[in-house]
């Protein structure tokens, strides 16, 4: 019995391979984009976890300097002598063979708490080689290759070390970094002996940071990954629309067959089980293909994601992918769940289907009208929810607002289109135009899912495109303001830095210090910069809000400036006071924009910085010189002091590098945008193709009454273009609303800074043309087939019972 049922179900797909292809394509695309994004997220998170876990940063508290970024090794010695179980760590930047940045980490395996790395070093010979000059270094394969020959000792490949990180003995790394006697932090063992003196009395210059606060990297990057996940989910939903359309049509087309099978004795439960089994098989096969395709998508996007994370957050992530069981399983689960959701209505209808057909045909036009009305009401509720969530603080509320706005607008769309078509019908004259609009309105329910998918894709394009373009415009202007100096110079030590300044002073218009210390600001990690009073800052520094005479007050050491991130997080405004590490409280004279910086920042007068933190580093200078003279001066300076590459940087190079990071940052977004639009075009194509056969009963009478097939085909094409144009008109305000939410809510909640919104009508026009082209391409095939359709197909409508 079941075998016969399976044969009937499979027979439908054999006779309608296009419907099967559409269901498979929808599911493959949906699963591919979802798993692709998840693969990227899993890989990146694994990199952070590796980096943190190797040094036990994820679960152990640590001691950090109260001011500056280095602590005195004497503090470590005092704490150990007092009985405290602490382990020293030093970190700093180095350079690999190919100019790649290396993150050097020095540890002491003898005092480090037991962990994966210390276990790896526990063997006597390895340990001895590690701590004895020239030392032995540990890195992953790619980093080891880049570091080879750049370090005094051999680099050993150890799987599991974060990309870009090279680990060595603390003393040897101190030497390499020129930081003898200095440490970055001390790791506190979890279990300490009883009866110890208070560590604050032993080392009063240190502060304790709890393990939770140490997980900055994953917190900082969470927003980025949430963005990717949101995009992946949007693409998944758009893909499911295709599956829903294809599976729904298959259920509708097999309604008579289902009834006959029931009439012949197949129990309803068995029929439902067969249909569910068929869907499960489809989901597993297409899901597996989707996961495989997702792996390729992730592989293609991963280098850009790695560059983004490095550029924005300094997070090192491998540019490659590992096959992970978790996202294979996750992808297949999503495919199965998505298929069941997409087919829920069909399965439910089958489970409730009476054995005999209704006495009268369903008044489907009215039923679809009621459905569209109910859907619009639900959509309006979604929009109200979005508006409410917009007024609430926090990243979650911002994402709720985005999701509710998109979903609400998508649900409202068919109702809006029906209203627009009714409005047009009242304006146009002529029977064909009247029929065209009435027929389009009646056919909306069949196309609504595809049109909703198109709306979401277009709105996402406009929204994200506006955000990225606004960001780019603002970022470029900000770069011009902030990178006003023509040359940036770093000495190997403070003595050389002073010599550089003395050499430059007679040759440049100004030599401005770039001095800073790290320390907590308003309870969060931050940095404090010292500036001298110079027109470079007064003219170029982009202040968002300021007290009158702000720069004079900063120059006098009475006040400070804070970046937007710090101002928003700490609720600071000009006129408030901010406590700096060490206890000094200064008035906030102004707030400046500081795009892309994840941490809070304050600017004080250079003299004030030096008086507050006398041990701060004094190695960097910004040099003002005529732009045309900058390259020659840079060459002369490098020659005179035999400076290494990277010690003298031209403004133009920094700008180019910053812009390159920017472009790569949004390359992933642009790619996902394009993918989503492509999936929407496929959804539209799938709907039009599958509906083409079902539309013959509507078209055949009109043909018989005197409209040619060619004209009907042109009308079908015009219908797709008109609907795409109407959807585009709806997508524009929706996309701009989305852009506003991203810029003014999501960005502020996730990164702490708000971007001004710019409008780009030329981009909309380009997208509009692309959407119309996609609609024309999607409709061209079915229209062409209609124009060439043999009269016999149309005559069949009159010859057979429908």
């Amino acid at each position: 019995m079941l075998r016969a049922g399976v044969a009937v179900l499979a027979g439908h797909w054999r006779r309608h391979p296009l419907q099967l292809a559409m269901a498979v394509v929808g599911l493959v695309l949906a699963t591919a984009l979802w798993t692709g994004v998840q693969a990227i997220n899993v890989e990146a998170r694994a990199s952070y976890a590796r980096a943190a876990a190797l040094l036990d940063q994820d679960r152990l508290a640590r001691l950090l300097p109260r001011a500056g970024d280095r602590l005195d090794e004497a503090d470590f010695v005092r704490l150990r002598r007092a009985g405290w179980l602490v382990a020293p760590v030093i970190e700093g930047a180095g350079e690999g063979a190919d100019g790649r940045r290396l993150h050097l980490v020095g540890i002491d395996p003898l005092t480090a708490p037991p962990g994966a790395l210390t276990l790896a070093l526990a063997e006597g010979a390895t340990l001895a080689a590690f701590i004895t000059p020239p030392g032995r270094f540990l890195a992953d394969a790619a980093t080891a290759a880049a570091a080879a020959g750049q370090l005094p000792g051999p680099v050993e490949v150890v799987a599991g070390i974060a990309p870009g990180v090279v680990i060595g003995d603390v003393g040897i790394v101190q030497n390499l970094l020129g930081a003898e006697g200095e440490l970055s932090r001390l790791i506190l063992w979890p279990d300490q002996p009883a009866g110890l003196p208070d560590w604050q009395e032993v080392a009063p210059d240190l502060r304790r940071e709890s393990p939770a606060a140490a997980g900055d990297l994953s917190r900082l990057t969470a927003s980025f990954h949430l963005n990717l996940t949101a995009f992946g989910f949007l693409a998944f939903v758009v893909g499911l629309f295709i599956v829903h359309a294809a599976v729904g049509l298959a259920f509708e087309a097999r309604r008579t067959g289902f009834r006959i099978m029931r009439a012949l004795g197949l129990p309803l439960a068995a029929l439902v089980a067969l249909a569910a089994g068929e869907l499960l098989l489809l989901a597993l096969l297409a899901g597996a293909a989707g996961v495989a395709l997702g792996y390729l998508v992730a592989g293609a996007l991963m280098p850009d994601v790695a560059a983004t994370l490095a550029g924005l957050y300094g997070a090192e992530v491998a540019g490659g992918l590992a096959l992970r069981a978790e996202w294979w399983a996750g992808g297949l689960a999503m495919a199965v769940a998505g298929t069941l959701v997409a087919a829920a209505a069909g399965l439910l209808g089958l489970a409730r289907m009476p054995a005999l057909p209704a006495a009268r045909p369903r008044a489907w036009a009215r039923a679809s009208g009621r459905r569209i009305g109910a859907q619009a009401a639900a959509g309006a509720a979604g929009v109200v929810l979005a508006l409410t969530a917009t007024a609430l603080p926090g990243l979650s509320a911002a994402f709720v607002a985005v999701a509710a706005l998109l979903l609400g607008a998508a649900l409202v769309l068919p109702g809006m289109l029906a209203a627009a078509l009714a409005l047009l019908a009242g304006v146009v004259r002529g029977p064909v135009a009247g029929w065209f609009l009435a027929d389009t309105r009646q056919g909306l329910s069949g196309l609504s899912l595809a049109l909703m998918a198109l709306l979401l894709a277009l709105a996402a394009n406009i929204g994200v495109g506006t955000m990225v373009a606004s960001f780019r415009l603002t970022f470029t202007a900000w770069l011009d303001q902030r990178l006003a100096s023509e040359l940036y110079v770093t000495g190997r030590d403070e003595a050389e830095a002073e010599a550089l300044r003395a050499w430059l002073a007679p040759r440049a218009a100004a030599v401005l210090p770039i001095w800073s210390v790290e320390g907590p600001l308003a309870g969060q990690p931050g940095e404090i910069y010292g500036v001298v009073d110079h027109s470079t800052y007064r003219r170029n520094w982009p202040l968002l809000a300021a007290l009158p005479d702000a720069w004079n007050r900063v120059a006098a050491g009475e006040a400070l400036l804070v970046n937007e991130q710090l101002a928003r997080r700490a609720g600071l405004a000009p006129g408030d006071r901010l406590e700096l590490p060490g206890g000094a409280r200064l008035e906030v004279a102004g707030v400046y924009s500081d795009y892309g910086n994840p941490v809070g920042q304050a600017i004080v007068a250079a003299a004030r910085l030096s008086s507050l933190y006398p041990r701060h580093e004094r190695r960097r200078w910004a040099v003002r010189v005529a732009a045309a003279d900058a390259p020659a001066l840079a060459r002369a300076l490098a020659r005179a002091f035999d400076l290494p590459a990277g010690a003298v940087v031209l403004q133009a190079e920094v700008k180019a590098a910053s812009l390159a990071i920017f472009e790569r940052t949004f390359a992933v977004t642009a790619a996902l945008n394009l993918f989503t639009l492509g999936v929407a075009a496929v959804a539209l194509f799938a709907s039009l193709v599958t509906l083409a056969g079902l539309r013959l009963p509507q078209l055949a009478p009109v043909w018989a009454l005197g409209l040619t097939r060619a004209r009907l085909a042109r009308l079908e094409l015009a219908r797709a273009l008109m609907l795409a144009a109407l959807v585009l008109a709806a997508a524009l305000p929706l996309g701009l609303g989305l852009a506003w939410l991203l810029l003014a809510r999501v960005n502020v909640a996730a990164f702490g800074w708000r971007l001004p919104m710019h409008l780009f009508p030329a981009d909309w026009a380009r997208l509009g043309l692309l959407a119309l082209l996609a609609a024309a391409i999607a409709a061209a095939g079915p229209a062409r087939r209609l124009a060439r359709r043999p009269p016999a197909d149309l005559l069949a409508v009159f010859a057979h019972e429908r």
């Binding site: 029977p431 009247g434 029929w435 309105r441 009646q442 056919g443 509507q698 009478p701 016999a792």
Partner: protein, 220 residues
């Protein structure tokens, strides 16, 4: 002669080769005349009607409608002929689902550029459709739908009505009522009628009858 069919042949491809449906069928119909076309199921009655309507092309033979040779007309020419000269009534009514009754009634007349609101209103009254004008096709009974189809065919004042078993899907009472109406209106307007039916009783109510058997027509 309004309609002249000469030596018409038509075959269809099937899984078992070509089947010759018409083998030299001929008939003639003058303005104002009515003719029943009878025959067994599958004898080719509908095929002949579709060929006369220009919905399909014959393998050989000639069809002239109102002086126009259908063989010389392209797709657009045949569509114009159907719009302006013919009225079609199908067994399954084939109303346009997107349009309400009033719009369905007027549709062909409007695309033919001959819409006469007064005539449409009169037809609606005669056909008992006054109260149904703003209903949708799926809200009507079979008899009501067929009355709309007849009204649609007559609204454009065609010179020839081609009806393919117009009462075939109606019960006997409804079928009789619909046929009475159609014959009355055809007589009033002077329109010619070619009606396919397999019912000899219904055929007997028309002025003439031809029988299709073995692909050929024979007068009865």
């Amino acid at each position: 002669m309004l309609l002249a069919v000469e030596d018409l042949a038509k075959s269809h491809a099937t899984g078992e080769g070509r089947v010759e449906v018409l083998r030299g069928a001929s008939l003639a119909l003058d303005a104002g005349q009515s003719l029943a076309l009878t025959g067994e199921s599958g004898s080719g009655k509908s095929t002949l009607l579709h060929l006369v309507a220009g919905l399909d092309r014959p393998d050989s033979g000639r069809i002239r409608v109102a002086g126009q040779d259908l063989g010389g007309l392209d797709d657009a020419g045949r569509a114009r002929l159907r719009r302006e000269t013919l009225g079609l009534v199908f067994q399954q009514f084939n109303l346009i689902p997107a349009l309400d009754v009033a719009a369905n009634l007027a549709f062909q007349a409007r695309i033919a550029g001959r819409h006469d609101p007064a005539w449409c209103a009169a037809l609606a009254r005669r056909l008992g459709l006054d109260a149904l004008l703003h209903r949708w096709p799926e809200e009507l009974s079979g008899g009501q739908q067929q009355r709309v189809a007849i009204g649609r065919a007559l609204a454009a004042r065609p010179r020839l009505i081609l009806a393919d078993e117009p009462t075939g899907s109606l019960d006997e009472v409804a079928g009789e009522a619909v046929l009475d109406l159609m014959l009355g209106l055809v007589a009033e307007t002077g329109t010619a009628l070619l009606m396919v039916t397999h019912s000899l009783r219904l055929a007997g109510r028309l002025a003439g009858r031809v029988h299709l058997a073995g692909g050929r027509l024979a007068p009865c």
